[in-house]
Each structure stands twice: as structure tokens, then as C-alpha cells.
Symmetry: C2
Subunit: 276 residues, 2 copies
Amino acid sequence: MELLSSTKSFGGWLKRYKHESLSVKSDMTFAIYLPPQAETQKVPVLYWLSGLTCNDENFTQKAGAFRKAAELGLAIVCPDTSPRGTDYPNEHESYDFGSAAGFYVNATVEPYSNTYRMYDYVVQELPHLVEANFPVTDKRSISGHSMGGHGALICALKNPGKYQSVSAFAPIVNPTNCPWGEKAFTGYLGEDKATWNEWDATLLIESASERLPLFIDQGEADNFLVEQLKPEALEVACEKAGHPITLRRQPGYDHSYYFIASFIDDHLEHHSRALS
Amino acid sequence: MELLSSTKSFGGWLKRYKHESLSVKSDMTFAIYLPPQAETQKVPVLYWLSGLTCNDENFTQKAGAFRKAAELGLAIVCPDTSPRGTDYPNEHESYDFGSAAGFYVNATVEPYSNTYRMYDYVVQELPHLVEANFPVTDKRSISGHSMGGHGALICALKNPGKYQSVSAFAPIVNPTNCPWGEKAFTGYLGEDKATWNEWDATLLIESASERLPLFIDQGEADNFLVEQLKPEALEVACEKAGHPITLRRQPGYDHSYYFIASFIDDHLEHHSRALS
């Protein structure tokens, strides 16, 4: 791992690293916020998965999360949103596919299948790296925004016992049934829609072997609410399956980091309770 | 005024406007955060002056200030850092002169003297506009970062009674005696250094007719500390003149908005006490 920068924030340290990833076969950058408590003890880790167009810096610069993380003694790890450094057909042409749009799945369609394995990276490789190199416990939680909110949901639903808690801001809850998800899944997983189902949070609810409560905030003035996000689909699936969900509809809030910043403290407190 | 965007944040609203400025003879963009209290009563205003390379968005996105502003019932107004839309010789060639580097002075050298009148804009025109169009009182405070920290200091020192309080993060305290200031003042004010003195906070301290306390945070790991910022010059001037100053040297902190975010709550509380 190569340390790119180290910045003091709320008594703790925000560090950015570059490392060679085995999962995605390229150099990957991630950020870790270590709260002041990490100087004398091991702290639990929240993984934050960002949305389309983002890298690790959107959350660290705009979410306003470190004040509360420092208070609670919570580390926060922010990976990038796709592999970088390749130049596949259509990889850099649109904001919702390819670079910065990895959707936290393991691609099966060539050539994306060679490197777009963000699910393996986030669920396996990154926690292994983080737990081997930083003063953290093996207690993990996961959260994210939009594409990353969905990423957090599937990581938790597909890995019972791995995360103590999960939350999301404005997640794409049902990607097999919205334009963003259909475009990405066609490109990464192919035309056979049956193969998509294991990567869709709403469809995973029924068979979830662990009933980890879902904690979700959704802005009611979010431009993407009706066409892309559709939280009611997840709500219905949870009701059917008896899966606990708290879905807060926040009047007036949009899809931006101003929305995330307004409610991030509630999410950090939710995770901290589960992690302690 | 043309409303560019309106975004809910911590129960209040962040609004960006474009308007035709008489002081700087161009369209100017500014942001105003109105806390929830502004829906039912008039609230006081903190003016925030940003540093080199910035516009109104650096503070609104990265400072993490709106949580506390909403709690305290404080509006925050963020102007741009220079006029825009002209194309003078050398105006866009460097980060520390011309566009995004107006230094909050009134230029006297042609052609900059035609439009680079950021002092008039910030001290006169913008408060007039804000107080005529928003639910705010005529109680004002002022703060800023780096170039804008110095801007806040001179606005307060040159206008006794206009501001209830002043603070700064990592201000350039003595621009007549550092490379950033010397370059900017030569370009805006000319070669006669005697004309520079009225725009230098450290030199204004001796004759200040109002002893408004200065509240300053400075990171000790700030890359610009020794060559550009030199807070000790201001400290010495204040000691000589009996001008109250609180200069907090914060170990480990750099020049970034991560530093500002870490201490912005203290500044907002400082201003709120003076404004109430």
C-alpha cells in the first residue's frame, strides 16, 4: 500500500492509499478515516459505498461524517466505485456504466469480467487489507448512497454474519427493474435476466437467511425517486418476507450530499449501536 | 436576482443566486444558507469569504457548517472570490491573481480597477442585497479562510460597528509582507507600497477605532504557514496595540477544508454569541 495523503480531521486522521488489487487487477485508491480512539485501541469499521460518478473523495469531503465518527470511535472506509486504468469499449462514454459505475457486482461479460469484480473487492479483499493493516476490529457495518446504497444492501444480504448493520441513502433498491440497473446489468451480466436476480436487493429479501434490519433514508424531492430508486418495491418485499425495514421518507430533500450530510449522524449512531 | 438552485439541508435551505453587481460590473453568484428558523423569524447573518481558487461552493459543500447553523439559527452568505466574465491581461494565468483571487480589495490599477472592487461588493452591495431580499436582521458577522480570512479581518477593522464579530481560519495576516500579498497588491494597487497599507490587517490594528476581538484558528501543519500566513505578525501588532486576539494553533492540521470543518462549530458559536 502506498500512502497518498494523511490529513488531520476532528482529532483523527483521514488517509488515502493506493494498492494493487487482486480482485480487480488494477491499482485501486481508497480512503480510511481513523478516529482519535484508534491511537490507543482497535475500532470497528463502517464501509461506505459511493454512487455513480464518485470516487472515495465525495464522501470524505461532503458528508460531514467525521465529527460524529470521532465522537463514536468509528473508522470509515471509502473505496472507489469501479476499477480504473482499463479502456474497454463503452467504458468511459457514459456516467452510468463502466468507470465510476461498477455497481458492486462481479461482471460475467467479457472484457468487463476480467476486472469489474467490485463485489469481491468490497466484500473480501478490502476488509482483509484493512483488518491486516490498521488498528481495527473485525466488526463491520456497511452503508452507501444510490448505486452504493444498493451495493451496501446486497453485500449485507448475501453475507449473513459479515456485517453488524446495514443502512443506505436513496438506494437503487430494485436494479433489475429500472433504467440504471438494466443498462449496467446488461453490460456486466449479459442478456439472460435470470442471472441478474442474485444482484438485486429487493429480490434477495425473500430468501435472506439473516433478518438484519434495513435502515434507509430517502429524500422525497429526489429527482431519481420515481424512475430509478423505487423504494416501495423493497418495502413490499420486506413486508412479504417479514424482513425488518425502517424507510424514512424525508420531505424536501434531494439526491445530493447535502441530503446525506443532514442525516449521516443518525446512520453513524445506528451502526455504532450495532457495532458495540 | 435569479435563483440558480435551492437545496434542503438540515431543515433549512441552501440557495444559490446570480445577480448583476453594480460594484464589480458583472454577474455574480452567491449562496445563502437559511436555517429553519428563517421560516418564522428574521435571523442574523454570517458572511464567509473563501480563499484562492474557490467560489461559493467550497464552503457550502465541504465546511460541514449547516448542522450548527441550523441549531443556532444563523444564516450564512458565501460570495464568490472575484469578478467573473472579463478577460484582462494575466487575469486567468495563475491561481493567486485575477479570477478567483480578488483579495477583497478595491483595485486602483487599470484595467482591474474597472471591476475588481470585491471590498465594495462584500462590505456594501451584498449586505444591502441580502438584507433587502431575505428574512434576515441587520446584525452581521464575518469570517473566512486564507485570502478570505484576511478579507474578513480587513472588512471588520475598516468598518467599526458594521460587524458584531470576526473570525478567521489560517488568514494571510500581513499581505504587504508575503509573496501572495505582494503579487496581488502590486497587480491591483500598483508599485507604490504606501497605498497597500490600508489593505493589510496587521497594519490596520494600531489605528483600529473599535477593539473587536479577533478569533483565529491556524493549523500548525499548514504548508503555507511560514512563507505566506505568518500569524505571529498579527499577534505582535495586537499585543502592541492592546487589541484582543485569540489565536489557536492547532497541532497537526493543514490548510484544507478538513481543518475548517474540524473547528467551524466553535466559530459559529462565537459569532452566534455576539449576534444574539
